[in-house]
């Protein structure tokens, strides 16, 4: 790098560029958070959905599955499982775990109550109705 471009100049460009980027990012963030309510089924999820989300978190489902493409890649995408399988299948599936098929990937048994299963399904339904710009490409996730 040439001698006319000094360290002090480089430092000033750094501060200027960083502050500008942060401000632009914050502006986009405000706009996005203002838009999110229109892109989710409800702005504040119902109590049922919120409880379902907590169950999702405290069982660490994200440690095996993706949700809207984020998480682990060991087990199927669940952002659209409500459309793929429907509410009844989801509940039966969870209750039937683990399959114990030798050599097959296993999902734990969580001993959920009926109420908890309904909460989880409500959360998955809410999630499946988020405007994801048509992702995933097809029902298989």
């Amino acid at each position: 790098m040439s001698a006319t471009f000094t360290k002090a100049m480089a430092r000033n460009v750094f501060y200027g560029g960083t502050v500008f980027s942060i401000l632009l990012f914050l502006a986009l963030t405000f706009h996005t958070n203002w838009k999110i309510p229109q892109r989710t089924p409800t702005e504040t999820p119902s109590l049922e959905v919120a409880r379902g989300k907590l169950l999702w978190e405290t069982r660490n489902c994200i440690g095996c599955h993706t949700l809207l493409g984020e998480g682990a890649y060991f087990a199927p995408e669940l952002g659209n499982v409500y459309q793929r399988r429907g509410p009844e299948f989801i509940k039966i599936w969870i209750k039937a775990q683990p399959t114990k098929v030798p050599g097959r990937r296993q999902m734990p048994q969580f001993h959920f109550t009926e109420q908890q299963l309904d909460d989880l399904v409500a959360f998955l339904k809410w999630t499946s109705e988020i405007n994801t710009e048509n992702w995933p490409p097809n029902i298989q996730g």
Binding site: M1, K7, R11, V13, F14, T18, S21, I22, L24, F25, L28, H31, T32, N33, K35, I36, R39, T40, E43, T44, V49, A50, K53, L54, W56, T58, N60, I62, G63, C64, T66, L68, G69, E70, G71, A72, Y73, F74, A75, P76, E77, P98, K100, G103, R104, R105, Q106, P108, F110, W126, T127, I130, N131, T132, E133, W135, P136, P137, Q140, G141
Partner: protein, 469 residues
């Protein structure tokens, strides 16, 4: 050789803990890799999600140990003054280590839901999100340790010389701590939750951590090449400018399909497509400095690690990042083995390697010698190649698996279900696992290199020819 400042010695336990936890991380990586192909391996004792938490959390914790050790080592030398409080650094070491070990023990000992209950998750629901799985007390512990650590470093900086390297390091560390606070924000609206989750994850690895990386690498290059500080620091400013100008808005590459407005496909694609530039600048920087070196530093291993960081960070973050960052591509690759391939090479190439660079440079001095004996260095360089080449293969096998997965599950006219596709990828997963075993062997050689001494004949030969260094 003596330490220039006594208090630099506190870095040593940090580096030792980092390496020990690294070994644990890789062990659990091997368990995960086997569970991919032998689905019920260790089930129900260690379900996949538990092993994965251990694998990724150990990674983050040992990298943080590495960053803190690096800071404690380089800040006294840069500021030309003793550390503000070596005692505080020692206390924090034990607090962080015990918190880390207890957390991992908790993951393994009880079901995650029980852990959440035992640790008061209902007070503030922060658990159960990828990488941020730690119970509330651990998260609070991380904040306390980070604040006390920043206080210690900050006070040292205040009373001493203020170089660009320490300033950049400090900005990176402050950013790391501040952004972690978003781990405590978990709204019930999933889209908002995900939006700000990335402020920890993306803005760490593609933002403030790159400042830490630049500072550490700049310091080591300064020491081993003897190149003019002005040149090195000017480079650093250019690199971190490029980093933050591309990386901050580049966060948008995670906002394509999780609910935010569609315009993020433009913002994210354009800015993140530029993110490889700072990584490329880093590569050029490393080679340039080593080529212009004013001295032949006898620590060949450290030089190798530094150059390796330059290359592998660019490959893993720059090339493999670019591969799937444009929205039309990411639409198909999002959340597949392509993501895992990139995550592995980027984390290894940038952050694992920079910490190992620092350890390679500093650890011999912390152990009272300028450099390690020849044989120990040769072994360390062997471990460099074993780990680096096997990581390249892990990445290639996962990329192959990912391409096939995308094809079968997302592109062909009759897309197949996830599990059916996984069965067809088994061969690639086996090869990934074998590459992982080689990685582990490399790590074993690395550990052994710390204890290797020159063979007696070699020492005698060295003494007979004192000119040989």
């Amino acid at each position: 050789m003596q330490l220039q400042y006594k208090s630099q010695a506190v870095a040593k336990p940090y580096f030792i803990a980092a390496i020990a936890l690294f070994a644990g991380q890789i062990l659990f990586g091997l368990i995960l890799g086997l569970q991919y192909v032998i689905g019920d391996f260790l089930f129900p004792a260690i379900p996949f999600n538990v092993a994965r938490m251990v694998h990724t959390n150990l990674l983050i914790v040992w990298l943080l140990f590495g960053f803190m050790g690096a800071a404690y080592y380089l800040v006294p030398e840069e500021t030309e003054t003793e550390l503000h409080s070596p005692l505080l650094a020692h206390v924090l070491f034990w607090v962080f280590l015990i918190a880390g070990v207890l957390t991992v023990a908790g993951y393994l000992a009880v079901p995650y839901a029980t852990l959440a209950e035992l640790t008061g998750n209902e007070l503030l629901e922060t658990m159960g999100r990828e990488f941020l799985e730690q119970p509330l007390p651990t998260k609070l512990g991380i904040v306390v340790v980070a604040l006390a650590f920043l206080y210690n470093i900050g006070m040292t900086l205040l009373k001493g010389r203020k170089t660009a390297i320490t300033l950049i390091l400090l900005m990176g560390l402050i950013g790391l701590a501040v952004l972690f606070l978003f781990a405590f924000y978990n709204p019930s609206n999933l889209v908002k939750d995900k939006y700000f989750w990335w402020w920890v994850v993306h803005l760490w690895v593609e933002g403030v951590w790159e400042l830490i990386l630049g500072a550490i690498l700049g310091f080591v290059l300064l020491k081993i090449t003897g190149v003019d500080r002005e040149v090195i620091e000017k480079w650093l400013y250019v690199i971190i400018t490029l980093t933050l100008v591309t990386g901050i808005i580049g966060t948008g590459h995670h906002y394509y399909w999780i609910g935010p407005p569609g315009y993020w496909q433009w913002w994210g694609s354009v800015f993140s497509a530029l993110e490889p530039i700072p990584f490329f600048a880093l590569t050029i920087f490393c080679f340039n400095m080593v080529n212009r070196r004013r001295r032949q530093h006898p620590n060949k291993a450290a030089t190798l690690w530094a150059l390796g960081t330059g290359v592998m960070a660019f490959l893993g973050a720059g090339v493999w990042g670019f591969l799937h960052t444009l929205a039309p591509v990411n639409y198909y690759t999002h959340g597949t083995q392509i993501t895992a391939a990139h995550g592995h090479m980027a984390f290894y190439g940038a952050y694992v390697m920079v910490v190992l660079t620092m350890i390679s440079y500093a650890m011999p001095i912390l152990r009272g010698r300028e450099v390690n004996p020849e044989r120990s260095q040769v072994l360390e360089m062997w471990s460099f190649w074993l780990m680096t080449v096997s990581m390249v293969f892990i990445t290639l096998f996962l990329t192959a698996a990912g391409i096939l997965q995308v094809w079968l599950q997302r592109i062909i006219p009759n897309p197949q279900p996830f599990m059916a596709v996984q069965d067809q990828l088994a061969m690639f997963y086996w090869m990934r696992w074998l590459a992982g075993v080689v990685f582990f062997a490399g790590l074993a050689v690395y550990l052994y290199s710390f204890f290797a001494k020159d063979k007696p004949e070699a020492i005698e030969a060295g003494e007979a020819h004192p000119s040989v260094t």
